[in-house]
Symmetry: C2
Subunit: 602 residues, 2 copies
Amino acid sequence: MVTSKPSQKSEPLSAAWTDHSELASGWRIASFLPIFEWLPRYGRADIAGDLMAAAVVAIMLVPQSMAYAMLAGLPLQVGLYASILPLLLYALLGSSRVLAVGPVAMVSLITASVLAPLATAGAADYVNLALFLALLVGLLQVVMGIARLGFLVNFLSHPVISGFTSAAALVIGFGQAKHLLGIALDRPERPYQVFMELARGLSATNVVTLGLGAGSIGILLFFQFGLKDLLQRVGVAKPLAIAVAKSGPLVAVLVATLLVGIMELNKEANVKVVGEIPTGLPPLSWPTAAWDQLGTLFKAALVVVFVGYMESIAISQTLASRRRQKVDANQELIALGVANVGASFTGGYPVTGGFSRSVVNFEAGAKTPLASVGTATLVALTVAFLTPMFYYIPHAVLAAVIVVAVASLVDWRMPFRLWRSNKADAFALVVTFVAVFALGIEIGVLVGMGTSLGLFLWRTSRPHIAVVGRLGNSESFRNVQRREVTTHPAVLAIRVDESLYFANTKYLEDALLDKVAEHPAVEHLLLVGSGINYVDASAVETLRELIARLQDAGVAFHLADVKGPVLDQLHRAGLIGELGEDHVFLSTHEAMAALTNKPPTW
Amino acid sequence: MVTSKPSQKSEPLSAAWTDHSELASGWRIASFLPIFEWLPRYGRADIAGDLMAAAVVAIMLVPQSMAYAMLAGLPLQVGLYASILPLLLYALLGSSRVLAVGPVAMVSLITASVLAPLATAGAADYVNLALFLALLVGLLQVVMGIARLGFLVNFLSHPVISGFTSAAALVIGFGQAKHLLGIALDRPERPYQVFMELARGLSATNVVTLGLGAGSIGILLFFQFGLKDLLQRVGVAKPLAIAVAKSGPLVAVLVATLLVGIMELNKEANVKVVGEIPTGLPPLSWPTAAWDQLGTLFKAALVVVFVGYMESIAISQTLASRRRQKVDANQELIALGVANVGASFTGGYPVTGGFSRSVVNFEAGAKTPLASVGTATLVALTVAFLTPMFYYIPHAVLAAVIVVAVASLVDWRMPFRLWRSNKADAFALVVTFVAVFALGIEIGVLVGMGTSLGLFLWRTSRPHIAVVGRLGNSESFRNVQRREVTTHPAVLAIRVDESLYFANTKYLEDALLDKVAEHPAVEHLLLVGSGINYVDASAVETLRELIARLQDAGVAFHLADVKGPVLDQLHRAGLIGELGEDHVFLSTHEAMAALTNKPPTW
């Protein structure tokens, strides 16, 4: 047994602390430049996994980056440009070993939604604004990382993230329907309007395009769900099986492109193709914006920062914990920020850590960020030499790549699961989901956040209170409505299950007075403070009034089980002095023992 | 001793419950029409007090209502009109016995600030909009009262109210300086600009006006601070002493008006006077607004509702509790709402329960709302017959009435008191104070509210945690840093002093893992849940991750002292099932007894 003295601030770290060291958050030079952490230890064992992962991710990334650029309303090379320098910069600075940075669906959707009112999709000033958005996003992320504001993402609750992700995935998916059907549609002003637009345009469906799209989806689904098991069953090694299975987008693009190119479907059947893509490494770019666009872009950048960071930190933490590693939330912000600044100066648009590609990177065996360096090299080679081969890629196959990628993000089961366990959480999810569709993607996420916080405030503003009694002969006191306990007619012990703060003090005063009114024989009200974690100035005022009103009604007020920090606050506010130290008991047990054996002191 | 069974929902009301009945919140017809509560019991004993109070309040109200109308930029009769029907309607519906309804300084300031961009002060459409604002305010209050949203005012914390009140009082006071100096100034766009404007206009000071203003302030201060004691010392009865002391505004107005009228200072010295005020009872009015003004007016109405209701409920609750009466927050909203609707239809602008006049009403002996009926009658007689006598009232004396009335609202000591007891509360006060000056009165109160809520969220997002140990031989476990307690090297018992919700779960996971890393010999982590009042879906997910990570590190996870509602939530979310019932202990005592005598089960 160890006896601690009150003066002892905290136990010193023993020599054996490394036992649990992988769990501790540290502070070292390497936490600013994580490359110093992993590069010196790089060894032969890491090479094979990194190379394989580099190839597999590049095979996914080339078609995806073009598809997401299309989703963002940008020329397709912008997606490729965003997949080179940002990856290298993140490899240098990122604290996750396996995060795959680059264009992602959700950020592309927000980019399109923000820029639509400012410029015409695909035009030069539209591209310039997309690059400027990346610059703003990057600078904001760096500043927030340095200011250690990474914790802010915690204010997005799981239900809000789930509702937002599902809704955004559906918005993205249905937004691609026009490419799969081969019809021209205006961008709807609000996401839900896409259904009306589609219904109107349906009769103009290009059947050949639809066939290409449907076929591509078929190939993608086969690769995604059937192929890996099939390959492993016939004895193909797991890493190779993964590599082959993840080449679905590449195969679909190849098949569709060959079909279109050979049969000249772009002329014969009016199938939309990507056309010419400039060849060569990314250009150096210096994006600009007009003063009057800055406000809009700044707000949009905040949304991109939040949504992008949320996606990135979620997957990087999940993957890191699988290998007992840790990611540093603020370092991640800085690394993503620098990656975005890099994107903006090399013709790219906002990037973040992608969910699905990071999982693939991890599963394909990536051990260090060198895998991303490999991926970037492969993408760079592609834009330097292979873009002429992209001429005949039909839009429909890129749309199919997007639709299949986002389909897995829709979580139908979550709302039902939440409804069973926690109605308020289910409500926040549904509100977020509906708001994204009805009001748009940026406002939707804000509405979701507001709903989560509002529900939390609402809950804390009308806390649970319980009359407690002694459990058997123990020193424990529990709710009289839940357990068989003994109470004393002259002493009413009430546990308040919430901190006392301005939003709930009036409610609690009323509730406590009502309880006293229900128990006419009561001479002592004992407030059990085990659930009170804080009291503010408003609560102190209300306690003062409560004590005075109880006194007038002939009821003495006492406190028990009040935590140290709360007792300090009450002392500083002078309330303990006014109440008298003899009304404050260390535990409910002591209070009950004292109060049931003596008459009231008032 | 009484033994409660868990099935028993709550104890039945005994016949003796009326012992504490004045504390209970009830539900009766009279709570919808409180007049049925007090009128049938009206007796001779009430008459004298009500009559005296009616006269005293009317003596205050006539000059004040004109002064506040001037503050609101309205013709002075609008203030008088707002002091007749609203008082009668509140007497019918209000749940406070002594609240004095009518124009107040803060609401007048907001009215001026809102209407300034929409119309020219004093013009017909300006008046019309002020009346329309009263209509909107009234309807909103009635709807909010019926929807039982009175609790919303609780989201304004004491520090915010204090900072707002002090700043608004200073804004009002300095805004009157131009009338005291007799100079013409534009309304500043932002409150803080009033200082620059005054500095610029100072050289044009009208010395006669300044003399009238300074003299009026002297009279008012003498009446307010010196006279009552003086009268009581020379043996004047207390009610009469109060009546005389409260006639300060009337005396100041009389003296100044006589001086100006006799010496024709309005012509001789260019002293601004109120001029002609229409004679006769209030006209029936039907205010209107253009569609494009509705948005602005609606937002302004919300601010008026909040600020007005806040002032009113604070004073009515304070006064009610002095006589062991109760006010019903929602009924108050309805009563004030109907009063405002009444104001808008009889040429009046927004009203609420005034702080100082209600105190005077109470102290002068008002027993029932009949006092307000008397006040309204006296005001009605004044507008019907006496307004020609108001021609020579100088603006300076009305400004003096305002300045002296609001000066007492500035609370210099509060920020220092708060700083000593609670830094966060002091911060919220200062932010609100500065925001009112820098950004304006309406935005200021919103900034204050946001700051209060933000600080609360911030605090709950990084909660206090404590390693706890056994206190002596008791069953109590307290913080090892605060008290001399015994711990066991293999069991780390940590108390988390906050509900687990999305904004703090990641922080807590890190904090708990760090604690485990600091204690290498630990085999069991016991989470003491006495301070956990709620868990949401995000927290359940994080707990799952935490349990898995601890398991990997060879540390078993246990729960103790978890409250019933929280345990229910954990059950519903499936976490208890996964963890195993044998890891959940009723109390820390039981958990420690069990864990220190047996090896880990993992």
